[in-house]
């Protein structure tokens, strides 16, 4: 069989099929083709039922271009070997190196393909290039072969993007570590601040409140409360020396408080004194203040069951009775 089906072969076939004389068939085919040309000249558009549509499209150089768009039935008949294939949606991760990729704005895929294949319209190409370059910035799709420059640009953009991404990630990580470290340090030093509050930093304007406490402590431990209390209250503004002596005496007193280990089980055998929760104080701090061991706060809770509702949230002003702890053998 010949590669080409020409009119010489077509007309006899046609004559046999229609059971007519070959000259008639020849004449019919000739007038058929002539009429198409006529129609194109007149309307720039000829539709032949059962075959397709011929169009005369205006091209750039003032020359019309003849385009044929087959009817869908004809198209399907020719495409029969591939008819069972269907378009499928791909996931973003799926990439093929050997398949051409491109970006379309229009969803009418088939007809625009026909147009493009038939006319190779430069405007279409330009349009697509524009689209892809716009698209290149935010979408890392690779484009057609004829857009290699665009593609390289795309990749650069992609690389830059991933680089900045890493910087961002590292910065966030670093910030997280710093903040975490700060919080840890805050917690650790916060536990110690109870000491410094009462022992070291008893000077300046904060003296007042801290004093009263220490004074009370002294008062209670010395069983001499009224006179000393009165004395302190009288002299606290006027006589600094007295205060200083009291400070030294209280600090001495506090230093005398022994460290109580948390490895030992204790028994509550009484109350040392009352302690009122102030702003910033915690049960741990109170425990440290009296036992030099902040891990012993549960004993305070145990001793103040009627006052403390929630050990994690003891309101300011709560009056606690500090238990006396004696080791159980």
């Amino acid at each position: 069989m010949d590669e080409k089906l020409t009119l010489e072969e077509l007309i006899p076939k046609f004559a046999v099929k229609q059971n007519i004389v070959q000259t008639d068939a020849d004449a019919f085919v000739c007038s058929f083709l002539a009429l198409i040309v006529e129609g194109l000249k007149r309307d720039k558009y000829v539709r032949v039922n059962g075959l397709g549509t011929f169009k005369l499209i205006d091209a750039d150089l003032g020359e019309g271009r003849v385009v044929f768009v087959p009817e869908s039935s004809i198209r399907d008949a020719v495409n029969k070997p591939f008819a069972h294939f269907q378009a499928v949606e791909l996931k973003d991760t799926v990439r093929f190196s050997d398949v051409e990729e491109e970006v379309k704005v229009a969803s009418d895929e088939t007809s625009s393909w026909l147009d493009k294949d038939e006319t190779k319209d430069e405007q279409t190409l330009e349009c697509q290039e524009k689209v892809s370059s716009v698209n290149g910035a935010d979408d890392k799709e690779s484009q057609g072969d004829y857009e290699k420059n665009e593609l390289q640009h795309d990749e650069k953009v992609g690389d830059a993007k991933s680089n900045t991404h890493w910087y961002l990630f590292a910065a966030i990580l670093l910030a997280g570590i710093i903040i975490g470290g700060g919080i840890m340090w805050g917690i650790l030093s916060g536990g110690m601040s109870g000491v410094s509050e009462s022992d070291d930093s008893l000077d300046g304007s904060v003296v007042d409140t801290a004093f009263e406490d220490s004074v009370r402590l002294v008062a209670c431990s010395n069983k001499d409360s009224i006179s000393i209390d009165a004395q302190v209250h009288d002299t606290i503004e006027t006589n600094k020396r007295t205060i200083d002596s009291i400070i030294s005496s209280t600090t001495e007193d506090k230093d005398e408080i022994d460290y109580l280990s948390d490895q030992v089980v204790y028994k509550i055998t009484g109350t040392i004194e009352k302690y009122t929760i102030k702003k910033g104080s915690t049960l741990s701090k109170v425990a440290y203040r009296y036992y030099k061991n902040k891990k012993l706060w549960p004993y305070i809770v145990m001793h103040n069951k009627n006052v403390i509702v929630d050990p994690n949230n003891v309101p300011i002003g709560t009056e606690l009775s500090i238990p006396v702890l004696t080791p159980v053998d």
């Binding site: 089906l5 020409t6 046609f14 083709l33 002539a34 385009v67």
Partner: protein, 94 residues
């Protein structure tokens, strides 16, 4: 010129009724399509050539939906007008 008008003019030209013209056009189309299905190109002298091209499979990203579609390979009918047809069509335009 739509299909009906084409058939009407064709029947006038060939001096047969419209039904015969439609039947003959259909069988002519059949022969052309049959030739294309056999993988041959159909060359109509003085008019143009129909041929079959295989369009490769390709991935098309729809920008509006962002979907990536894999379109299968397809056999497509192409038409190349002959020089004479081009001349004839463009004569009236100049």
């Amino acid at each position: 010129m739509n299909g009906d008008e084409f058939l009407k003019l064709l029947s006038e030209k060939t001096r047969c009724d419209e039904k015969d013209a439609a039947r003959m056009v259909a069988s002519l189309s059949d022969i052309i399509v049959g030739g294309l299905q056999d993988g041959r190109s159909v060359s109509l002298q003085g008019f143009g050539t129909f041929d079959v091209k295989k369009r490769l499979e390709r991935i098309i990203t729809n920008q509006t939906t962002g979907k990536r579609m894999l379109y299968p390979p397809m056999l497509m009918i192409g038409f190349r007008p002959s020089e004479q047809l081009k001349e004839k069509v463009n004569v009236t335009r100049e």
